[in-house]
């Protein structure tokens, strides 16, 4: 009860528009993601993004919200070069990826973990092999694979489902598998496109908890979602898009204690969303 009162008090505080990247000691290294007046116009004239400029610094946890069709997925796709912007620059770790030759695109994608709403798992591989594939792709040795895959599966709580196939897992489990695959080679940037879009609130908190845990290892996490309630409860930086434009960019991170543990984080979010039963697996 006391906790709820505190959080309400915190929410009552005026939100500051100060963005973390303006903190002086972080200015030296280039931001992990920087968009400079990025415009994407689809063939046929539909505008996906319009002059979007934003920066995400290393170690941030950012939500990208907005109604369906506002350009969230377009934005994510431009970050992994699945789409080329019509105009503007997309910089990952200070490098413009629009000028990246096609041959180098796989290298980019290995450094950026991606989680998709529809999981995009390999259906004829076991849980273990799905995660291992991400390492095989980068030419990891067998011993490295044997070491890293169980670690990643333990992180997302799937250590006991190693031999299952994706169609034998629940939606939440499949999504956690997808997170494990995205994170297994510890990319500096993790993108999650509607990771909770198909899941119930309780399972969603579980996924968010995993993402939060990953963020605490130092990985920058960008989560696309239309679940405004969840976003409000998590109190992280929120970038809102509408019709391809940035309409809000709020650094809510200042209002939460930075040293909140994963367990505390999950308990708080669950409590605030009115969910009681905690998943004992985390």
């Amino acid at each position: 009860m006391a906790r709820r009162q505190t959080s309400e008090a915190l929410r009552a505080r005026p939100r500051t528009t100060r963005r973390p990247e303006h903190l002086t000691e972080q200015r030296a290294r280039p931001p992990i993601v920087e968009l400079r007046r990025v415009t994407k116009i689809y063939p046929g004239g539909h505008v996906g993004l319009e002059h979007v400029s934003l920066r995400v610094d290393r170690g941030e946890f950012v939500f990208l919200v907005g109604p369906t069709g506002c350009g969230k997925t377009t934005l994510i796709k431009t970050l992994i070069r699945e789409l080329q912007p019509t105009e503007g620059e997309v910089l990952i770790a200070g490098r413009d990826i629009a000028s990246l030759p096609d041959k180098k695109v796989p290298q980019l994608r290995r450094r950026v973990g991606t989680v998709f709403q529809d999981y995009k798992l390999l259906p004829n591989r076991t849980v273990y092999d799905n995660v291992a594939y991400a390492l095989q792709v980068i030419g990891a040795s067998r011993s490295e694979i044997r070491k890293k895959v169980p670690d990643a599966l333990r992180l997302v709580g799937l250590a006991d489902k190693v031999k299952n196939y994706p169609d034998q897992l629940s939606g939440g489990e499949q999504q956690r598998l997808s997170v494990a695959r995205a994170f297994v080679n510890h990319p500096p940037l993790l993108l999650a496109d509607e990771p909770t879009g198909n899941l119930d609130p309780n399972t969603s908190v579980g996924i968010m908890q995993v993402l939060y845990r990953i963020n605490r290892t130092g990985t920058t996490v960008v989560v696309v979602t239309h679940d405004r309630e969840m976003v409000d409860k998590m109190r992280r930086r929120v970038i809102a898009l509408d019709s391809g434009r940035v309409v809000r960019d709020q650094a809510a991170g200042t209002s939460t204690p930075d040293d909140e543990s994963t367990r505390e984080f999950a308990r708080r979010v669950r409590e605030e969303m009115g969910l009681d039963d905690e998943d004992p697996r985390y």
Partner: protein, 310 residues
């Protein structure tokens, strides 16, 4: 090195996990190889037959001893043979006497009728003339040789070089007919087999495309986790290679079966089948195997291309 084994393992895993499309690919490859395996020897046989006919084309010089005409003395025949052999571009001159001519004619009839042959022919003795068979060194020199044997006389009529020459027969006309017929057959067979080959190539390509299309989402996922195009392509090529190998193996098995069961017993009875210059079975099998593997592996690799565009 470890990579190669990884790709082979991946290819075999894909084969195991998607058995139905792989089976379809194997069957189409087998059908294609079977068609090729039948058509190549048939085409070659047709070709060989034409050459054989062309080889037989020559001149036949009939002498004046037909019916009841008196026999020609030996020195005269020898003299003519010498003259004929002296003509440029003549490759060989062969004398066929009356008895041999009768035998040759009899050879075209059934055995039991041969005895009657002589009695049924007019006259009281062998009515067939003796003759010379002349082979040119090249078919195109035939008219020249003919002109040399029967140069045009003073009155414009052909005047043979010897008194004993009755008639000069040119087998070119009938040879041309045979050659024409066989070359028509050859053309038809060639066009048919080309069409079949194209059809089977398209079929194999289509089957491979279907099996890849069924897994296009998988390919998409591989791309999204940062697999390079060749990393994705190699297992598919291994898969195609195995499909080609198995399909060709099945087809070659059937060809061998057909050869031993149907073709070999007939070989002694039919001259047509027994032309020696067709491709050996081992060579044929090897060629077919290589073609099938190359086609299906390359088919896989090329079809994948459209799913690999970034």
């Amino acid at each position: 090195m470890g990579r190669i084994f990884f790709f082979i393992r991946e290819g075999l895993r894909a084969l195991r996990r998607s058995a139905a499309p792989s089976l379809a690919a194997i069957v189409t490859v087998a059908v294609m190889v079977l068609l090729l395996g039948v058509l190549i020897p048939v085409l070659q046989t047709a070709n060989g037959k034409t050459n054989q006919v062309r080889d037989q084309v020559g001149l036949r010089v009939f002498l004046t001893d037909a019916y009841s005409a008196p026999e020609i003395p030996q020195p005269q025949i020898a003299e003519l043979q010498g003259k004929l052999e002296a003509i440029p571009h003549v490759a060989s001159v062969q004398f066929v006497n009356k008895d041999q001519a009768l035998k040759e004619l009899g050879g075209q009839f059934e055995e039991k009728n041969q005895a009657n042959l002589i009695t049924e022919l007019p006259g009281d003795r062998n009515p067939l003339p003796s003759s010379f068979n002349i082979q040119p060194d090249d078919l195109s020199n035939l008219p020249g040789i003919r002109a040399a044997i029967t140069p045009p006389g003073a009155n414009g009529q052909p005047a043979p070089i010897s008194q004993i020459i009755d008639e000069v027969n040119d087998s070119r006309d009938e040879a041309n007919k045979i050659t024409g017929a066989t070359s028509a057959v050859r053309w038809i067979l060639g066009v048919l087999s080309a069409l079949l080959l194209v059809a089977s190539l398209l079929l194999v390509g289509n089957t491979i495309r279907l099996s890849i299309y069924a897994r296009r989402r998988e390919v998409e996922v591989m791309r999204l986790v940062g697999a390079t195009n060749w990393f994705i392509r190699w297992p598919f090529m291994v898969e195609g290679l195995v499909c080609g190998l198995v399909g060709a193996g099945i087809a070659i098995g059937f060809l061998l079966l057909g050869k031993t069961v149907i073709l070999d017993p007939l070989k002694n009875d039919f001259n047509l089948i027994n032309s020696g210059d067709t491709i050996g079975f081992a060579t044929l099998a090897l060629v077919l195997l290589c073609v099938a593997m190359a086609v299906s592996a390359m088919g896989s690799g090329l079809t994948l291309r459209r799913f690999l565009r970034i």
